[in-house]
Symmetry: C2
Subunit: 346 residues, 2 copies
């Protein structure tokens, strides 16, 4: 059976969304005559006078950043969601709309313009995690915030408009589509088994040991069986935590460690600062208890064959559903064969 999954077209089921992904492992030999991306030399300057995220510099909105030394958070100058709006409902025949309230923040991971997560020290990444946790707690304390989406767009290829190491947090009143899907699946399993589906999945993956990338006392990084992006990965806490607000100190550190290890492997794969969007999926902050939820962080990196050839999610993928060529197992194998040390720090 393993051989069939390795060689034949098949669909895999995502237990967290209830959706399928098409896998075409025989297609990896396809030639590439299409677009290649520029590969950028690594960022060198620790301070860039033109960067609106560097300490002391002026931002697009006119405000000045403090001389921050640890992770620094501020309200997005061009927030997609605003806290103070006039609420409304719009319904006219088949047209339906409603106002949406929220708060959008930016989190600078480090004052050093030249860094990225894999190049930061574990202690400094731990500070980023503590910041996410604090922001999560603060944002979720607002009555009108029912979901907090923490994410990072890394690299120009992922629409990141500034190389300074930073992520974003968009928090809002309604529960977003992707969270609704996962909530339904987590709930279904919880109601049937009184267990976290992700905890059970993690157990099975550790047993199989085919898609595991890293493991420490509190966390596991793996390529999910149903991965969509070529090197998509997931970081899962071993303890069944509903959200990052529940992390204890030793978990915060272990999380930082595994984040550094995973992103280092990523950079080493094509000897480039690996672009991705990462995001934390966790329980809604709607005031209810969510024993069904098990927080996790996912990485969706677009690169496929080299630092310049990416996988395009277009055409078939947009109109029908996701498709991939290399299997999850092949991707795990490639990442597991790489050195642990960052290629720029050897």
């Amino acid at each position: 059976m393993k051989e069939k999954l390795d060689n034949q077209s098949h669909r895999r089921y995502n237990i967290l969304t209830g959706e399928w992904i098409l896998v075409s492992p025989h297609r990896t030999k396809r030639p590439w005559q299409g677009k290649t991306e520029e590969s950028k030399a690594p960022q060198k300057a620790t301070y860039d006078p033109g960067c609106y995220l560097c300490p002391g510099n002026e931002r697009a909105g006119g405000e000045k950043n403090p001389n921050y030394k640890r992770p620094y958070t501020f309200v997005n100058d061009f927030s997609s969601l605003l806290p103070d709006i006039e609420e409304f409902d719009y319904k006219e025949g088949l047209l339906t709309a409603e106002s949406e309230r929220g708060i959008c923040k930016v989190v600078c991971f480090s004052p050093d313009h030249s860094l990225t997560l894999p190049l930061m020290e574990v202690e400094d990444i731990t500070e980023v995690i503590k910041t996410w946790k604090k922001e999560f707690q603060e944002l979720s304390s607002h009555d009108f915030i029912n979901y907090v989406q923490i994410f990072e767009n890394k690299g120009a290829m992922m629409g990141c408009s500034n190389p300074h190491p930073h992520g974003q947090i968009w928090s809002q009143k309604s529960i977003p589509t992707e969270i609704l899907k996962k909530s339904a699946k987590f709930k279904e399993y919880w109601e049937a088994n009184q267990r976290s589906i992700l905890a059970d999945y993690l157990e099975q993956e550790l047993e199989a040991d085919e898609r595991i990338l890293e493991e420490n006392e509190h966390f596991v990084a793996l390529i999910p069986f149903w991965a969509v992006w070529p090197f998509e990965a997931m970081i899962i806490p071993k303890r069944h935590l509903q959200h990052i607000g529940e992390l204890n100190e030793s978990e915060e550190k272990a999380y930082a460690e595994i984040l550094k290890k995973l992103t280092t492997k990523y950079d080493n794969l094509f000897k480039t600062s690996f672009p991705y969007s990462s995001g934390i999926h966790q329980a809604p902050t709607d005031g209810k208890d969510h024993p069904e939820w098990h927080f996790h962080m996912s990485f969706y990196p677009p690169l496929l064959r080299s630092a310049t050839v990416k996988k395009f999610m277009v055409g078939y993928e947009m109109f029908a559903g996701p498709q991939r060529d290399i299997t999850a197992e092949q991707a795990a194998k490639m990442l597991n064969e790489l050195p642990e040390f960052h290629y720029l720090r050897q």
Copy 2:
């Protein structure tokens, strides 16, 4: 109310998928320091000896293209789906997979390497539509083909590996995710009203006349109220057709006309060959009657502000749900203010 939709953050409901999209019209003033794409000069040569789609040339698979004069179709040399496979089901704990059968084809729109749909004559586009129809009928006659996805990836930005005007058809046994979503919504409405939801929506849009781009005897092109991509558009037949197999001759021609008009507007917007993925959503070919389905074609173009600045669907969009800045009405207005003639043919 219209003013609120024009100025405040809100969510709009997609009646065909049941999903919401976040609209942030106040955010259009955001500066852009991010990635810009190369803008390519228009393709000049009508024949390219290095192109594997040009008439008479050898393809990647080793076969030679005939000296075709009208649209030419062949089985994809690197098909993601194959008709002859050993079927299997895989189930191990929380891992579920199954084999997938299918047929993938390539459709060359024209022998002329330098053309694109907006630069082709209406008669020649009509031939493309007749080819789609014929392929749809042929593919759906196979017992194991339950859905036929016709699509085009246009432009390097959309992962198109060859500028020769062409599209693809992936047909398969299982019904893809996006079709399942739409099938459910079409059915819900049909069962409640014995009418096509898209026919009723079209009526309302023609009445409102705020998002209409083009109209002829048989077809309408519009920006849907719930558009995700900045200039996303939809072509809808006025007659309630389940699939393109039902097009009559005068509809084929009207379809070609509106396709040319819409894609010409697209090219004129930023005076560039406008990249997009387009696709036809239609009834499954599972042998059942689908009176609920109403076929339509959608265009998902990534450009946002110019020929080189695109909208990135990353981070928040990947982890939470789609987000846009300019409203559907603003996009329709911009397109409607453009000349009807192609900027290269004036």
